[in-house]
Symmetry: C2
Subunit: 616 residues, 2 copies
């Protein structure tokens, strides 16, 4: 079985019978994968190469320029961080841009939904908040724009981190400046003949990742809350069973909320619903996939049809009229698979075209109109559906999402104290952030689910985002009743406050919410983040964003377990720095453990040790 999800396995079989190739098939065809690449010791940075280092100690020991395995591994890792940070910061940039347009009345359909949060954030930027919300928003957008360039000395949100943490960053010279600036400097440093000291490259990797976590990602989250509302607990449904045989099924897939929010509006448009009925459907059934799905789940309760490895099989159901995509983690294979079905793959971002897709470009200033056109296109596709090919092999599962930091505080009665008290009393042993992707190298969702279960059994409150949260939702872990599966201490807390033992905090950029949460706890206790009984994990990670995330999480002082092996094993020095030496520098390190239960054990041990350190 390739997936923990029943319907996925059934659909994989259907695809096989229909001769359709999926990610698992392509992975098999790639095997054995290149050993140099897996170890990170292949260098394609200049045209004297490509070079590769002999991992067994014989020649070649160096690239043409003289770069060693240490330098090559560090450079490759540095570029992964840069690309991941770039993706998140570009997401943040789009939100800033939308906020500016909205504040100027240039983006119909968008408005300031959370004025209270606007004022909180604006005050952090020293903006006069005693004015019309649009004036405040305009100044905030312009202020945040400066975070991307070279004008400012230090990004604003970094000031939210505990003082002890900021001191560590300052001492190491890794306080992040402009977000784009750190990314571009990483690309510069990894150019031929620039930074050739592996530790120096990795230090800048930490800095670059911090400009993501406390910069690009945090900007994306906070400004999205201002524009679309700060999430509150919301009930919804999950898995491919959310698709309906008798409705126009539209899936939004990708990462940003700007498009998906407008699609939500359009899907409720009476004229379009009437059109759907005219075309023989009972209505319009919108669901989300990956993080753009998480965005509208968190704020609107829109059902989730799946995570990363669900995207291809969704088409195989034969019941999807359109998959509307924006950016990130969208398999280019979708257009190929869609040729065997009636499904339209509709690309919308000028940054992300897909050969074979229908491109209907989205622009915020005409967002509402374009969203309606896209939904109309999907509706018109309904009559082309071949009912004989339809297979929706599962029933949806109930779930709760919407746990922003603000929502958690509210659930706790207005302050974090009950949570802190529960940790002190040992009812909750600690907090784990389990995040990240799917990867066909791992049985779909299994590592996510097994690790999460093990952690809650051990009275560890689990915070999740992205693909992991969707995986946990599918097996029913995101409902208050799941506290029955938790240890007695965690169960009692969950029951007292009516919350699930696993809290869905949003999309991958919303891991910044977890930084805010742990900072608040550390500040309340007067300690550093690295002193807290907190651990992180990315059990099935695959993307460069995950590399950036993992790096800013450890740079923020949180021990992190990786469940798939990063391409660094070709350098013993780099491995030692990341899994050992980092502890002395930043108070946290990585561990690599492909077994999710053993990974959970590492986190539990870490949490126990940190409790001891705090005298708990």
């Amino acid at each position: 079985m390739k997936s923990m999800e029943k319907s996925v396995n059934i659909l994989i079989e259907k695809a096989e019978n229909e001769g359709i190739e999926l990610a698992w098939d392509r992975l098999k065809k790639q095997e054995p994968q290149c050993g140099f690449g897996l170890l990170g010791i292949c260098c394609r940075i200049c045209n004297m190469g490509p070079c590769r280092i002999n991992p067994f100690g014989d020649e070649p020991k160096k690239g043409v320029c003289g770069a060693t395995a240490d330098v090559i591994v560090a450079r490759n890792l540095g570029r992964m961080i840069a690309a991941g940070a770039a993706a998140h910061s570009d997401h943040g940039r789009d939100i800033v841009h939308t906020l500016l347009l909205a504040s100027q009345g240039k983006a119909r359909g968008y408005e300031i939904k959370d004025e209270a949060k606007l004022k909180v954030i604006a005050a952090e930027f020293k903006i006069d908040t005693n004015r019309d919300k649009n004036d405040v928003a305009k100044d905030l957008a312009k202020g945040v724009m400066q975070e991307f360039g070279m004008e400012k000395g230090e990004i604003q949100f970094i000031k939210r981190a505990p003082a002890k943490r900021r001191e560590i960053w300052e001492k190491l010279g890794i306080l992040p400046r402009g977000i784009d600036r750190e990314i571009v400097e990483m690309m510069h440093r990894t150019h031929i003949g620039v930074d050739n000291d592996y530790a120096n490259i990795i230090l800048h990797g930490l800095r670059t990742s911090l400009s993501d976590g406390w910069g690009g990602s945090m900007v994306a989250t906070e400004l999205s809350d201002i524009l679309f509302g700060t999430p509150k607990p919301v009930k919804s449904k999950v898995n491919l069973g959310v698709l309906k045989e008798d409705a126009v099924n539209i899936i939004v897939h990708g990462h940003e909320p700007t498009l998906s929010e407008m699609i939500v509006l359009a899907s409720k448009d009476p004229d379009l619903i009437a059109l759907a009925k005219k075309n023989g459907a009972k209505g319009i059934n919108l669901s989300g996939m990956c993080c753009t799905g998480n965005e509208i789940l968190m704020r609107k309760g829109v059902p989730v049809s799946g995570n990363f490895l669900n995207q291809e099989v969704a088409i195989i159901t034969g019941a999807v009229e359109a998959i509307i995509v924006d950016v990130q983690c969208i398999m280019p294979s979708l257009t190929e698979i869609a040729k065997c079905y009636h499904t339209d793959i509709i690309s919308t971002s000028p940054k992300a075209k897909f050969t074979g897709a229908l491109h209907m470009e989205f622009h915020e200033d005409k967002g509402e109109d374009i969203a309606k056109k896209i939904v109309k296109k999907a509706i018109e596709n309904f009559p082309k559906r071949n009912k004989e090919k339809v297979l929706i092999p599962d029933k949806p599962v109930e779930m709760y999402a919407g746990f922003s930091v603000e929502a958690i505080v509210e659930a706790l009665g207005g302050k974090l104290d009950p949570l802190i008290d529960a940790i002190k009393a040992g009812k909750i042993k600690g907090i784990a952030a389990v995040v990240g992707c799917n990867n066909p190298k791992v049985k779909h969702d299994q590592s996510h689910v097994e690790m999460t279960k093990k952690l809650i059994e051990n009275d560890i409150l689990v915070l999740e985002t992205g693909c992991v949260a969707i995986a946990a939702a599918k097996v029913g872990l995101l409902v208050p009743e799941a506290s029955e599966k938790a240890g007695n201490g965690l169960k009692s807390v969950c029951k007292a406050f009516g919350i699930p033992p696993v809290l869905h905090m949003g999309s991958c950029v919303d891991i910044s919410r977890i930084l805010v949460a742990v900072s608040a706890i550390a500040n309340a206790l007067g300690v550093d983040i690295s002193d807290l009984p907190v651990a992180g994990a990315a059990p099935e990670w695959m993307s460069e964003k995950a590399v950036s995330i993992g790096t800013y999480v450890i740079a923020s002082g949180v021990f992190t377990v990786l469940g798939t092996v990063p391409p660094v094993l070709g350098s013993a020095e780099v491995v030692d720095l990341l899994t050992n030496g980092a502890e002395g520098l930043i108070g946290a390190k990585f561990a690599v453990e492909v077994d999710p239960i053993k990974g959970a054990d590492l986190m539990i041990d870490h949490i126990k040790a940190k409790r001891k350190g705090l005298g708990l």
Copy 2:
């Protein structure tokens, strides 16, 4: 013979006898190089991979995500452009930063050297120039800072391009916005699951490269001129023979002028000269290598000890007390080779450390003091020189450099007209920009020299920068007498104005000077750059900067010949777009031709065709 330069071959032999490994040896050990890498069809962008495409049409035809060879090649190329643009823009950023410090009186040793140019540039930025030069410079620095972020809609210098060119860019949606912004967007687009249409990726590659050529690089050039003076024709000497047996030999190597300018000052310090004499030397002998060498050659006439492939053998002379490096194209092998000699490798940039180097960090606010300390360190190294190991096997060659656009105009009597008239009259058939690196895959300097000779024989005025200009200088092509080797038409023009047939225009960022020159000519003729009898070439390129340069040169409308094969052959579609389809989009395309004579022929044919197009 591995080099055209006699002394290099002698020193390669010396290294071999001493058991020292050089770039050519390491290249040999890498052979056969990975075919997937050479073709560009290896993808290491996410952790589902690494993936590779079978170039013979069988499986695997796609990466795990579904990316085709076209997408993989385009993404890899996009990232090369991003890294190259990042290097140049980071160079520009450092100059902006230095200008700001200097204008605030916070960087002793730095001052506004060219107030006239300051006013010209400031006026382009709509800054009131009728004030104290430091106030103007401060506002200019702050204005240019905005070019790096997301605040501005379009970079300023792009307005220098002919109107027809700008229309093409606007129509294609590739007018560059912030410099960092384009680079970061390229990193985002090439992340897993974002841009999966090869043509769309390459279009953004053009945009990114334009933000380098008309942005980062042009900023570096123009602001360097303001700070350090606009180059004027200057006489100097070149090759490893500039090293002196009886002096403290210091080589500055890398790319930026901020450090090297201060080292020039320090090398003339009477106290330090006295110290050198006290240590047994006759004085301090400074020379430059690569582009930081070109910077101080252009403005101070400091002799040049060599280009990229000279850096290792310089140590083998046994006569070098210190190689002081900043950033870019510095082989990490230097520290290893220096272990066999007394040479100190002194790294100075926080962005570029080298395992085994002595790190003496340079900061502009204490530039003079640090430069003196570095020179002192080199002097103190002189007594450790082992005279028996010294071999300086050549005599220096005379050369002229310093041909900024302003200097060319001045040489022509105050306006470009004589040059344009000579082109119209056919005395000069056209202009060739020959630029780029060394690459041990090509006999050192040979392609540069052979192509240059062939071009001037055919009455084509050659503009050169970087490693190429140094190569041409070594064989005596950068003196007015070299016009004897030119065709009769070009010879007559050179004689009339007393200029060489090959003009050294500076470092690699100074290729922006060539953009300014061709724009001025196009504007004077009321045509687009792509209408001009102009061609470009990078005969021995190896770096990602060269990829960015080549791309912005064709995006600016100049046909360009590449002398080493870029890693794109794995996609017939990408190859066709770059070498054919691009012509229809932007009026220019690439050709790949490893034979420099055949490459020159392509350029000559192109120039003839363009003359015909203009009715000349």
